[in-house]
């Protein structure tokens, strides 16, 4: 019962934090320096790891699909499988998981440390709302950077799949065949579905990590606990939301 209460409390306070941050949306233009700094943190520094991971996800998909589809003589459709899987599901989800692990944990640690060191209290006494200065630029940055990261992840994944399909001896299908199948079955709508998912995941991850960070109490030990909690909660929410968004998108 106590845990259920704390879950509802957490959801409620995250929603309140989101609404508060949204209320300061008009101040975003004059916070452009913070916004671009967060874009750099969320986008540029995450890009290499997104690219590496997406490449190998595409490659593994092509490899496994090639191995399974060979029996049916359907190797030429590997491109469609990799294309659809990356665009609708694996692209946005992998980017969100990386975001939670790399950026979410950093956000949570930074804000928890600021809270424990009373820097957040200092902001409140100076009449500088933390939702405006600490949360809003991060939310705006994640909304801008998630589609960019997801599109790059999709493209690199598709390319990884093509490379493996072409140069793996047991698969050996040409890039033309691979991309023809990909283009035939992966529509622009599928990419958009993936981008919509990515936006929701990104928003939720940043909001959860900000909220947990800003509600940290105690000493340095609680900072570590806050980081762990924010990553675990983010990962669970990504998977749960993924199911419901997929359900809505496919119905």
């Amino acid at each position: 019962m106590k845990q259920l209460n704390s879950i509802f409390e957490g959801v409620g306070s995250a929603i309140l934090l989101f609404l508060r941050a949204l209320g300061y949306a008009a101040t975003l233009p004059r916070q452009s320096a913070r916004f671009f700094e967060q874009c750099y943190m969320i986008g540029y520094t995450t890009l290499p790891i997104v690219a590496i991971l997406s490449f190998f996800i595409g490659a593994v998909l092509a490899l496994q699909a090639g191995y399974s589809m060979e029996d049916f003589g359907a190797k030429q459709w590997i491109g469609s499988l990799v294309g659809l899987s990356m665009a609708r599901e694996l692209g946005p989800m992998m980017v969100a998981i990386l975001l939670a692990g790399r950026v979410g944990s950093a956000i949570s640690a930074e804000l928890a440390s600021m809270k424990v060191n009373q820097e957040v209290d200092a902001l409140v006494t100076m009449n500088i709302p933390p939702a405006r200065m600490l949360v809003l630029p991060r939310l705006a940055a994640v909304l801008v950077m998630m589609p960019v990261l997801t599109i790059i992840g999709d493209l690199v994944g598709w390319f990884g799949g093509a490379l493996i399909a072409r140069y793996t001896h047991s698969i050996d299908i040409s890039s033309e065949t691979y991309f023809a199948a990909l283009r035939q079955y992966t529509k622009f709508r599928d990419v958009l579905h993936g981008l919509a998912k990515a936006e929701v995941f990104g928003l939720v991850v940043v909001l959860i990590c900000c909220n947990i960070g800003l509600n940290t109490r105690g000493g340095p030990r609680e900072i570590g606990a806050a980081v762990t909690r924010s990553v675990v909660v983010s990962l669970i929410l990504i998977l749960v939301l993924d199911y419901f968004i997929s359900k809505i998108q496919t119905s």
Binding site: M114, N117, Q118, E119, D121, A122, M126, N127, I128
Partner: protein, 268 residues
Amino acid sequence: MADPSTSRKPFSSEDAPGVGVQVEHLCKNFGRLEVLKDVTFEVTPGEIFVLMGPSGTGKSVLLRHIVGLEAPTSGRVTINGLDASADQTREAVRIGLVFQSGALFNSLSVYDNLALYLREHRLGTETEIRERVMHALKILSLEGAEGKLPADLSGGMNKRVAIARALVMEPQLLLYDEPTSELDPVMSATISEIIATVKDQYKVTTIVVSHDRDLALNIADRVGLLMQGRLTFLGPPSQLMHPKDPVIADFLNPVIDIHHPRFLKLAP
């Protein structure tokens, strides 16, 4: 807030008269723990009020109520009649709080720590902000420290930067949480002088939480003594020189007797 377009001398008290603080029947519980028990007092505009008491008696919690960082369990705290915990109060009254730890923004330089409030509230151009920041640094003898990060400062400098950051706001109410803790006697005396000078020059209402007896006796207009969550004394510091209450006397003038049973208990 001051109009940024108006040219004015930094830290003038012309438009920043001190404000009054009223604490009425304030009680605060954390779970089953009663921290503050029916605390009532008033601080008049322009006064230096020092709140003393042993460690862990609720002084800092009381300060957090005045600045609106905690909500009372019962009772109320008002600043010029406005509820201290309401966001609107912080918009109507400029409140500076000097935290015990300094609470400086670790990722910002000393200069940016001081300039943050002015920039966020758009109180002037960068040139005007620079003028106000440098003036505050000069008052606190911190010239040359503007480029340093908080991690590079000594304890005394950290406190002075925290005071400078509060001063830049031109506060109407200035609160200090244990300003002389962890400082040597010379630095403690310097900080006491700074608190008194700031109050005299800028007529700012000042509340100091401390268990430094010398600081209280030297700078306070009135002293409150908080013991076990209750206000047990309220009056001018002169009355504290020869307290009649043995508990208060023991707190203010502790006699260390190593033959006392409590010390003998520690012996192997």
